[in-house]
Subunit: 464 residues, 2 copies
């Protein structure tokens, strides 16, 4: 082709395929150590010990929990900037120490970026900083072992979730973040409008207020993708979504965020609670077992006392709402009309020594779309799954598939589209939502939900 | 355990493991057909042909592009509601027709949900509805072959993207949707605040305006996760994100959405454009090749004329900005100070007969964080990748890693955290952003971007 030749002639066309990564990530070096081979690594110095003939540096590059020990002979030219926190490029020979530890004997060490603690670097070597302190430095905190390990586990858990659903032939759907539905009863919402007044002016139409100008309707951040999933499920079968959802609540507990991730699945042709519960229990056990296999070192780095929970080998307990109330009552805890509270949730989990499905909920405590029970029309076929540490981690239900019953409970005409799903080629479906951050709390033993994701947002906090 | 026995006694404890799916998805039936075996399927009737002794129904369940032909002997009891669009549960024996076509000879057919076209169902059998028409019925459109096929391809593409980065040891990071950064120069933003006035009143503090009450700062929907990725990259190495981003622009082209998905990757220790370009070219070719392997039938369903693009076997072309301008100039097209426009982008692609990297951009046309070229300080090490049909599909750059140079260009004090990333253990990085929907347009030949995702949002449109 003429033009390509032209490019080659003028020297601007180069062979992309010839560029490759020369250095190794530390995870690979540790996985298949090639003793005696020249090896290049790049990463950050996590600690330094100066001894008589050698300097020992522990270097990590974020690819795994472990550090690689670098042995630096003192006769090498050494940059003054080689300190804790600095970024380095090291070439050397891989070797085993007398004690059998893998180490890299450096031939060359190059400091890429210095790190002067006195210039304001907030972390110190060989110090375990409390999470509340680390959280003040969101932009730097992925450099701490604690947060880096959590983010690797978070990545692993999302991967296992996608793998689980791929095996079961579910289709991954990107449900929308912006929505004109505000009435799912799932909590308070954020509204959205353009920042730029010029845009609003230019788009203004008679009879519209500011809030509705851009989209033609008031627009909110999603609180759940479920209703949208149900629409797709009725054309494509089993589907799921894993994405951000939002609550504009003024709650500052260790269990709440303004922006968090939900896994939601909608199961086609699902006509029994047993089937729904089976999917949830299978999925949860799969996530826990797989992540313990793939990220054991990270789990220990996050919490040394982490161990396989007993309940992984047990069946989850199923408890009707009324019986749960009796259990709590017998312990002197009164369930009000608002339902089971957080303390009571944890009491039930403790009582059962396993995750508990609370089923057969009173209709008035649950959302309009939940299916009326066939054996008691004051109840709905809904479930909450309660787990240790966090209480509720999953909510789910069969969906009301009777057109007339749904119509009677529909909270707004804006949801007529949802009703219409039942009119044409309708099928029974059921589904659930699982809070990703709470799963991470239970799996890793993370007391505060703000440490389960890279950039937490909660009331008065939206840094960066 | 006492309590569990109690549950068993009261009949509320059931064996979860015993429930399993009895029917088969059509994708599995077609993949490994078990001729002669009793088979159950569930799905929707896509067409019906009544003949002398049999009714022929084509049934699809969303699991694949293909339909399964059902042969219904007329002596079976047949529900009047068995029509186009109805949902059905069929049991029968798998067989091969005289012509060798796989078919299911029905023993039993059960209509789960009727579909009466006269009641307002917008689609008709054996009719190819234009996408503009289908788009009016967002809640029902996944029942059309066109949209279902696109959503399967979208799922496949995201899976291939995750697989690509998993192989390369990148860590998947959930960058935030809510952000207090508004000044990346990437376009107009949406602002976010609680809908509930009571919440705002309760949280109001002296000196704050409404916009800032909830988070303590004005808060926007993200236009890019890049700056956040850069923070994580400097603790954990190679990272990427794949999630929704937003633009509050009043543009209604076939290439723009208010909410769309971006894949963004940040490459640690990346110090050359060649390396950056290699990753982009490899990734794109991987996506195209893998998706053509996994979803060939879907690609044909979307566009019968779809074929493997010639450029998959070619090196992408690289063209410095100034040369691109000369090429356009020679064709009588003038490049203004605002840069290359859409028509000119497509002209360049056509001229090169392949995707083109435009490199060596004038500094004033690009963002503050892009690295000043070492050979010409009026230029930055940035790239746009132009592709057929859509023009720009990827934008990327090396990042300015010189503290002083970055400080001089920093557009706002709110980004001091970003500057500080260069202060402690800094490393060279480079990265790019790729529009998922535009990739789908090129891959599938989809003229309008609104058909590449399940629930498109654009000015005056935020249905559901």
């Amino acid at each position: 082709m003429f033009f390509m030749r032209e490019c080659v002639k003028s020297g601007h066309y180069f062979k992309i395929g010839s560029v490759s990564k020369k250095y190794s990530i530390i995870a690979s070096v540790l996985e298949t150590p090639k003793i005696g081979e020249v090896t290049e690594v790049k990463g950050w110095v996590k600690s330094l010990r100066v001894q008589k003939e050698f300097i020992f540096a522990d270097v990590n590059d974020g690819s795994c929990a472990q550090k690689l020990q670098i042995v630096i002979p003192k006769n090498l030219p050494i940059d003054d900037n080689l300190t804790y926190g600095s970024s380095v490029h090291i070439t050397g020979k891989l070797s085993k120490s007398p004690r059998g530890q893998l180490e890299l004997i450096a031939d060359n060490i190059n400091v890429l970026g210095k790190c002067v603690i006195l210039d304001g670097y907030p972390f110190n070597p060989r110090t375990v900083h409390p999470p509340e302190y680390i959280r003040k430095f969101l932009h730097l905190r992925s450099r701490t072992n604690y947060i880096a390990a959590i983010l690797r586990v978070r990545h692993a858990v999302t991967t296992h979730i996608h793998n689980y659903f791929a095996k079961k032939n579910y289709i991954h759907i990107h449900t929308p973040i912006l929505t004109s539905n505000d009435c799912e009863g799932a909590g308070e919402v954020f509204k959205v409008q353009p920042e730029n007044n010029e845009t609003i002016k230019a788009m203004m139409q008679e009879g519209k207020n500011r809030d509705s100008v851009y989209f033609g309707t008031k627009t909110y951040l999603t609180v759940s993708g479920q209703l949208h999933l149900e629409a797709i499920c009725r054309g494509m079968g089993d589907v799921y979504t894993l994405g951000p959802t939002f609550r504009a609540e003024n709650s500052r507990s260790r269990l709440h965020l303004s922006e968090f991730y939900m896994l939601e699945a909608e199961i086609a042709f699902c006509d029994s609670m047993e089937k729904l519960q089976k999917v949830i229990e299978d999925l949860l056990k799969y996530i826990f077992i797989e992540t313990r296999n793939t990220n054991e070192a990270d789990l220990f780095l996050i919490d040394k006392s982490n161990k396989t929970p007993d309940w992984l080998n047990k069946q989850f307990v199923t408890l009707p709402y009324d019986e749960a109330r009796n259990v709590l009552c017998a312990k002197g805890l009164d369930v009000t009309e608002e339902g089971i509270n957080k303390e009571q949730e944890l009491t039930l989990v403790d009582h059962c020594q396993a995750p508990v499905f609370i089923v057969q909920w009173p209709k008035n405590l649950k959302s309009f779309y939940m299916k009326e029970s066939s054996f008691d029309n004051s109840k709905v076929d809904a479930l909450d799954l309660l787990a240790p540490l966090t209480g509720e981690i999953v909510g789910g239900s069969l969906r009301e598939d009777n057109y007339e019953k749904l119509k009677a409970k529909l909270p707004s005409d804006a949801l007529n589209w949802y009703l219409e799903l039942r009119k044409f080629g309708n099928i029974p479906t059921g589904g659930f939502g699982l809070g990703l951050e709470r799963i991470l709390q239970v799996l890793c033993n993370i007391p505060n939900i703000k440490d389960t994701l890279p950039f937490p947002r909660w009331p008065h906090n939206c840094d960066m």
